[in-house]
Structures are given as C-alpha cells and as structure tokens.
Amino acid sequence: MVRWCDVITLPFLLLQQLVVSPTGPYRTVAAAVQAAPAGATVVVRAGRYREPTVTIDRAVSLSGDSGAVMDGEGSHAIIIVRGDGVTIQGLEFVNTGTSYREDRAAVRIADAGQCRVEHNRFTNTFFAIYLARATNCDIADNTIVGARGREAVTGNGIHLWSSRDIRVSRNVIRGHRDGIYLEFSRHADVRDNVSELNGRYGMHFMYTDSSLYTGNTFRDNGGGVAVMYSKVVTMTKNLFSSNHGPTSYGLLLKEIQDARLSGNTFRRNTVGLLCDGADRMIALDNQFEDNGWAVRMLASTVDGRVEGNTFSRNSFDVAVNGVGTSTVFAGNWWDSYHGWDLNRDGIGDVPYHPVRLFALLVEHAQPALLLQRSLFVRLLDAAERALPVLTPSGVVDARPLMRRPAGGAR
C-alpha cells in the first residue's frame, strides 16, 4: 500500500542513507538513529554492536546486512520504538539476559503504529518482540529461538498487549514461555507461523476479540494453545500436534464466545480440543487423529455445533463431564461407527453415540484408564454394540457420515 506520505518522502529515502559499521561512518546504531531524519534508512553492516538500548522515535527504517548482530550483553533491552512508521529488518538480536522486574524485550514497540519487524533473527532473548499499545503493525518472517529450558526464565516470543490490527505472519518461534501471546488486543491476524517446543503455550489468547489465526503449526508445546476470555475468534487450517502431558491439549477454549474452528488438524495430543465454557462454538471440517481424547467438553460449554469433522484412531472420540451437552453433533465421520446406510445417501441410518461407556467411567474415575486395551474393556465395547442401551445417550450424532470427507488434512 502506498500512502501519500511515502510518495513525498521517497526521494529523501533514496538520499538519506546512513551507514553503521564497526569502522564508521557511524560506529553505533544509536548514533546513526539519532542523526537520521524521518524517512531515512539506517543500514547496519556486518558486525557485533554492543551499546545501550537504542530508542527510535521517528519513521526510520533500520536495515541489517547479513551478519549484523545487536547484542544486549545479557543486561538490557536492545531497541525501543516510540514513533510511527518504523521498520526493522534483517538484523540479529541476541542476549537480552533475564529480568524479573521488567518485561525486557529485544524489540519493544510502544505507543506506535505502522511498524514493520521483518526477517530478523532473535536468539536467546527474554522477550523477542513486545508490542504495547501498537496499531497496524506487521511482524513477519522472523526466526525466534529462546533460551530453551525452564518456563520461569524465558519470556514470550511475540507479545502483544493492548494492540490493534497487528499481523503476525510466517514467523518461527521456539523455546520461549508462550510462542505468541496476545492480551487485550483487537483484530489480530496470526498466519502461517510455526510455534514449537515452547515451555507453556504455542499461542495464548487472552481478552483478544475479533481475531483470526490460520495456517499455523503448533507442536510439542508444554500445554498446546489456549484461547481464553475472548469473543469471535476464528481458527482455520491450523495444525495442533504432539502436545503430550497430564494437563496438555491441542487447543483449549476457555470462556470463549462465538469461536469458529474449521479445517484444523488435531494430531497426537493428550486432549485434542478441550472446551471449558465455550458458548456457540462452531467446529466444521476438522480432523482429529490419534489423540487420547479428541474432544473433551465440560458442562459449561453450551450451544455449540460440531459438524463435518473426521475422527480417527482416537482413544476416546468425545468425553463430557455431565450427563450430556447442548452442543449438537451432526454429520461427522467416526472411524468406530458400525452403522449401515440402506438408502445409500451417504448418511448412516443408525445414530452414533460418540461417548463410550468406558469413557464415562473414566470420566468418573480417571485411574480406570489403566484398564484401557484390556480384554474386559473390549468386551464392554462389544456389549455396547450388541446392547445399545448400555451406551450413554447424552451425546449423539444423528446423521453420521458413511464415508470419510476428503481433504482438509494437513
């Protein structure tokens, strides 16, 4: 998008290039930034720059050559942006050190708009990119590798606080506390990122309404992805994978209104989708494969719709902690469905009850899980098929699909 101010400043941009390198003309980034007028580009040549925190308060573009490293020397934040229209690209940020008193970040954008942070590398930073009251910024193509290890000593990879219209795209984040964290923000667009091996969550949404995340991969994170206390969040085509552990899940929806999930894949999670107080959730065309529990719904979840999803090789397809649920299951494909279809319309003539008797027993006393795969439990399953009266009837898919829906899987 070309803005009118860009057209006016373009000639200056070409002229105004300030070069930082270990041999001059500017030897520190701070000196060049201080001298640069709005619209200028500061080019940072290869080298390791150890200097106090640099503050950028006007529309300067900071562009690193390959090998340009800014070092926080284990003791301080590296760049603070306090003006609109700042671009930071091609730089490597290392070693901010750990702080328990401040949210120390390699790049902090505070009270600023139209910023771009692109193609940078963050290694061993406490927080990598921190946005506070930022608007209309792009965070794209960054590689962020935290001091992998204990949750207590890493901050978040990309942290949004009270920000609006932020696009977070194609970043790779690993080894932080939360890969991506959003709080009190609006209209965030999180797209095609990979967030893995983070101590707590791959992504953590808090009080962030009207947002979209799509095409992201979240895997091997301590807890999976948590979306909490938010309204109208749309989640499409994400992969939630390999989140194992006693309190782990692919995706947690907690106190969420009008969430919409479609085309996502949940694979090899202890719990694929955990709903705790999700109102009017709509889940369409998602794949649930090889999970312990594919979908677990607590009684606080009301008026949802689960349709066109594929359930295969899960230990338990659905578990509920109450008698039933007001969520409607319809037109899903279940690998353990054994019904028939006499009129050949592709929809099974016998309703499917995705909550097995054993699942209900396990819900009552979880240690009973140790009997999973035992002959007795298999006989229990067989008995349920022979005598449907045994199956808990609270949850039912009245028109299960006979054939597995094509596509959608990642």
């Binding site: 194992h244 552990g245 006693p246 309190t247 782990s248 090899r268 999670n269 202890t270 719990v271 090889d290 999970n291 312990g292 529990w293 090789r313 230990s315 027993l361 009552h364 006393a365 979880q366 240690p367 009973a368 899980l369 140790l370 009997l371 999973q372 795969r373 035992s374 002959l375 007795f376 439990v377 298999r378 006989l379």
Partner: protein, 264 residues
C-alpha cells in the same frame, strides 16, 4: 546334577512337540501377525494390536496346553519316578520340557512375521523385543500355574476346567472387578490401589509394562503421567519385572512342593 534335569527335559519336550499343538499355535499367531502387518502396516499400531492378541492367547495357551501336557506325561513321569532320580530334578526337567517349547513356539510365532518383513530394523524394534520378552514370561507363568492346577487336580477334565477358569479370572473378570471397585470408591489414592490390584494379575502387569514402552501412555493424561512417572523409570520397570518374576517363582514353588509330596 543339572545334566540329569537337562536329560529329562528332552523326552518331556519331545512329548510336548509331538502333540502338534505348539506348531499349530505358532502358525496361527504367525498368520495373525502376517495379516496385521499386511493390512495395518508395520507401524506401532500393528504391534499394539498384536500385543492385545498376545496378552489373551499366551496365558490361555500356556494354561490349557500346560495342563494337558502334565496329564499326557503322566505315564512317563511314573516311569521316571521308578528310577533313582531326585524328585526335584525330575520336576525341573518336566517343567522346562513343557514350558520352554511352549514359550519358544508362542514367541517365534508372534515375532516371525516382523522378522521376515524386516521390521526389527525399524524404531519399533524395542517394542517388539519387549513384546517377545513379555510373551515368554507369560508363557512360563502360565505353564507354572498349569503345573499347580494339573498336579492338584487328577481328573483331566476337572484340571482343564480349572485352567480355563483361571484364565477367565486373569484375562477378564479381574479387570471387571477392579473397574467396579474403582467406580465405587473413586476419589484420591485410588490410582495407587489400582496399580497394586493390577500388579496382582500377571496379564495386567504385562499390559501395563508393554504400554509403558509405547507412547500410548503419554496420551492418557493425568493417569498416564502418574504411571509414566512412577513406573516409566528404570526402577519402576524393574519393580514390574520383579513382580512378574515373583509370579513365576511362587507357582513354581507351589507346584514343586506338591510334586515332591504327591503320591502318584
């Protein structure tokens, strides 16, 4: 002195193999494995499915075949008892002659399809070896129990009935009772009680031991974590294996005692 036991082992084993039961069992298991690999691929899921079969078939086969063999070998036993041979050595020879071919047949039948499909060179090799080990252990334990049963029940049909009942208890009823009790008491501490209850049944013990080796346990949430935490360690595994060993030693001791005092 061991040589006498070994020399006694041979005729007992010959008696066991002659029944063609073992060859049939091994073939049936190999066929099941072959089918599973062909239709289910050679992945971890296949091994877990075969594990289910092994846990059901092995104790059943060991109990039934073992009980029958003791009765079949009765004439031979009486013949040997007339010789100047210690009863302890005779018992050792008889037991090993019955249990070893059985364990070998089951283990080979179970693992042969994986071997000829070259699956021992894949990441599931560890699980396969564990599966083989557990099958062996269950076959030996089943045989020992069969000896206890057959030596105490002289009537062949009665002995077979008791053996089947024992299998039914171990494979099905025990778990049913555990499940029922778990539901009734519920609450905290039940997982420890459950683990102890599982340890009292060699089939459950084997199942837990094998599932610990696969990543299935990781999908079991809190309970899986508890199990992995308490038993997934080397020490925990050692405890499980020790419990299995105890399950072999105790019936063997009982059977040997009966054998030594028995008036044939």
């Amino acid at each position: 002195m061991t040589s006498i036991a070994v020399r006694l082992l041979v005729p007992a084993a010959r008696e066991a193999v002659r029944g063609r039961w073992l060859a049939g069992l091994a073939l049936a298991l190999a066929l099941a494995g072959e089918l599973l690999i062909r239709f289910g691929g050679g992945g971890a899921t296949t091994v877990v499915s075969l594990l289910d079969i092994a846990l059901v078939v092995t104790p059943l086969a060991a109990l039934v075949v073992g009980t029958m063999q003791v009765h079949n070998a009765r004439e031979m036993t009486e013949l040997f008892l007339a010789q100047p041979i210690g009863r302890g050595k005779l018992f050792t020879g008889l037991f090993l002659g019955t249990a070893l071919p059985l364990a070998a047949a089951l283990t080979i039948g179970l693992l042969a399809p994986f071997a000829w499909h070259g699956l021992f060179a894949t990441p599931i090799a560890g699980t396969l070896i564990a599966l083989g080990g557990v099958t062996c252990a269950l076959a030996l334990i089943g045989s020992a129990l069969a000896f206890v049963i057959a030596l105490n029940a002289d009537d062949r049909v009665r002995a077979l009935g008791i053996a089947l009942a024992a299998w039914l208890v171990g494979a099905v009823l025990w778990d049913g009772v555990i499940l029922l009790v778990t539901m009734l008491i519920g609450g905290r501490g039940v997982d420890t009680a459950l683990l102890i209850a599982l340890a009292l049944n060699p089939i459950d013990l084997s199942r837990v031991l094998l599932l610990l080796g696969t990543d299935a346990a990781a999908l079991f949430g809190y309970t899986g974590a508890v199990v992995q935490h308490t038993l997934g360690t080397a020490a925990g595994r050692a405890v499980l294996i020790a419990a299995l060993a105890l399950w072999l030693a105790l019936p063997l001791w009982l059977a040997a005692r009966t054998f030594k005092k028995k008036d044939f």
